[in-house]
Symmetry: C2
Subunit: 242 residues, 2 copies
């Protein structure tokens, strides 16, 4: 979109052989205290029987964000989720059928949204994520069924999933993404559980509390959790600072 030659090339829509653009969504939530993704089993070739991220093609008159939101709605039945662009995958042989460039989005689901998507008859299945590396080192991620069996992933979706986990870990302590996985009211222990699940490592309780409260993101509701057989914890709410 800069030189004259390209201007002319680009100006006549039929004069240029175009590729196909898609969006793929990494739907992440918590399942049984550990990080999990929602996947679809592919019925048709290529990669039939393997597991794929829900995705869809981007319409000619559709903004990228809108395409991602549409996939979230149509494939997972959800209208509310933290959605952010992750990375664009543009290798030649991602899909054996044709050239498809895909913009990957990270979608973070609250426990309720996660359950809703699973129950919605969408065919989505929860896969817990096995992350064998610590910190932000990066590396492969294994998706496992409830029983523990590895789920082979279609296309380059293992790579996309791994990048999603890396991004999530990286943003966790300086951004608000941690709250996207929690309900509106939550205890500090729940917040810590979320962080520990994402980081894959235990955290120090007093230090965690101090850090979170000092951030100014939390406002106490005065309410307390119910149903415990011991001292109930205070419920907090996320509040965007100022």
């Amino acid at each position: 979109m800069a030189s004259e030659a390209e201007f002319l090339d680009g100006y006549d829509p039929s004069a240029y052989e175009r590729l196909t653009l898609a969006v793929d969504l990494v739907l992440l939530g918590l399942s049984g205290g550990s990080l999990a993704a929602l996947l679809l089993e592919r019925q048709a070739h290529p990669h039939a029987g393997r597991w794929a991220l829900p995705g869809g093609l981007v319409g000619i008159d559709e903004p990228l964000e809108a395409a991602a939101a549409r996939v979230l709605r149509d494939k997972a039945g959800l209208t509310q989720a933290h959605l952010e662009q992750l990375y664009t995958f543009g290798g030649l042989d991602r899909d054996p059928r044709m050239r498809i460039v895909s913009v990957a989005y990270l979608a973070l689901l609250s426990e309720r949204a996660f359950a809703e998507a699973l129950a919605g008859g969408s065919g989505l299945v929860a896969a817990t994520l096995d992350v064998p590396w610590a910190g932000e080192a990066g590396g492969p991620v294994t998706a496992r069924a409830a029983g523990g069996a590895p789920l082979p992933l279609a296309f380059d979706h293992a790579e996309i999933l791994a990048l999603a986990v890396l991004r999530l870990r990286g943003k966790l302590d300086y951004s608000e993404v941690g709250f996207a996985l929690l309900p509106e009211h939550f205890t500090l222990r729940q917040l810590q559980d979320v962080h520990e699940a994402i980081l894959g490592a235990p955290l120090n309780k007093p230090a965690f509390r101090r850090r979170m409260l000092d951030r100014g993101w939390l406002s106490a509701t005065g309410l307390r959790e119910a149903g415990t057989s011991f001292r109930p914890a205070e419920l907090y709410r996320f509040q965007r600072p100022r």
Copy 2:
């Protein structure tokens, strides 16, 4: 790339109206001790007379990375630069001619590469960047000509430029991007100058030295800078840790 309907849609290349995919490069380097970008003045409409990032359309048989490298070569005459994907811009009205989705790349140039691109007859002009926000707050960025006059940017390129600066600032202290702007051998003072230019704020000398040396990224060469009228500083080299 997931459901059956989309599979069929996507399988016949002529059955689907395709958009155009481009790459745009944010070429950043240092000019006169401050952060600067290389821009091209648009000759034709739309946005004639405004300033644009160098870019190009992505070929149907061309990986995204290769397209970025091609633009770097053809538009700036460079074969060596730190190149990393920044973000994909996919709004509907980015370009008034037609729907163009653009994958933005961040290219970091050493002082030598920066000068080479300027001298290569490519038409690129150095614009110093005026960043009116501190830290990683984010916000608009103004490109200015050598005299200080603001250069109006074409399309959504002001937004892309701002995101590039934000990304660079964010990655500076935990990644190796700072070294991409330096020659192979450099002094600690030069490294600090680079960091200060990117952050737009002065840094504490002893603390900066300690941090950098403790990272394990630097290896002393035993050589010293030449041409000073005072004590010459030791020259270091960047060495990927282990």
